[in-house]
């Protein structure tokens, strides 16, 4: 898969393999933490490490609903963009993400990674390991999924930061 800036107005995802398309389509679904789970606690952390009932009450009442709306909106943006990805048998896929959707994409990819990491309780060592796994359990595959989303995030950040345009490269996420 190639990810690059396209005509100063979009991010182009091209040369997309079937497996990559499938993982991209899973991003929105990964953004839904189970209620009361560790994943939900990570997405909506406490604003303080001390006891401050007034702050916590206000946070629950006013801030969390806003954050929830923001996260849902980012997820829906990604869902809509991925909807334009049509895969044909024997062909690689392509779709465009408007540049202004860059931040919602970073948010949705981050939500997905944080939720998967919390759900499968990955340790810091596991998340930063460079070794290839010795087994191929569901857990190992999810770690690959987290790293795949991280690579896409890195590429989007690079594009948003550098303003790079149509750079011909073989860099892939």
């Amino acid at each position: 898969m190639l990810i690059r800036k396209w005509k100063k107005k979009a991010i182009e995802f091209s040369c997309i393999e079937q497996i990559e398309a499938e993982l991209l389509r899973q991003v929105p679904a990964c953004c839904d933490p189970d209620e009361g789970s560790k994943a939900e606690a990570r997405i909506f952390p406490s604003p303080t490490n001390t006891s401050d009932p007034d702050l916590l009450r206000d946070w629950d009442e006013y801030v969390r609903p806003e954050l929830r709306h923001l996260f849902r909106s980012a997820k829906e943006t990604v869902e809509e963009d991925i909807g334009s990805l049509k895969m044909k048998v024997g062909h690689l896929g392509r779709f465009l993400v408007p540049l202004e959707h860059g931040e919602p994409w970073l948010s949705a990819l981050n939500q997905a990674r944080l939720i998967l990491a919390a759900k499968f309780e990955f340790s810091e060592a596991e998340l930063s390991a460079l070794d290839l796994p010795k087994t191929f359990s569901q857990r190992e595959l999810v770690l690959h999924q987290i790293n795949f989303y991280a690579a896409i995030q890195e590429r989007i950040i690079e594009i948003l930061n550098t303003g790079e345009d149509n750079k011909p490269s073989g860099e892939s996420a």
Binding site: P47, T48, T50, L114, F122, A150, E154, E158, L160
Partner: protein, 93 residues
Amino acid sequence: MPETAIDTKTEAQLASPWNVVVHNDPVNLMSYVTMVFQKVFGYSRDRATRHMLEVHHLGRSIVWSGAREQAELYVQQLHSYLLQATLEKSEGC
């Protein structure tokens, strides 16, 4: 004169600084955290990178200090980027 002294003390209490603290998180990418610090606080790339590395190596970094209301707003913004941030009263106040 005594009234002036009381006023000054009250003002000093109101102005007690609050810290915005960002905590380490193995999932958030270093480049992402740096970008967020630049966006939220308007920090230069160098300053944002310094805070990011402090979070990474020391587990936490005080990224801003000042009035409580503004600190709460910053924590909210950092949460909107999915960073683990908390509000803490500055020590020694």
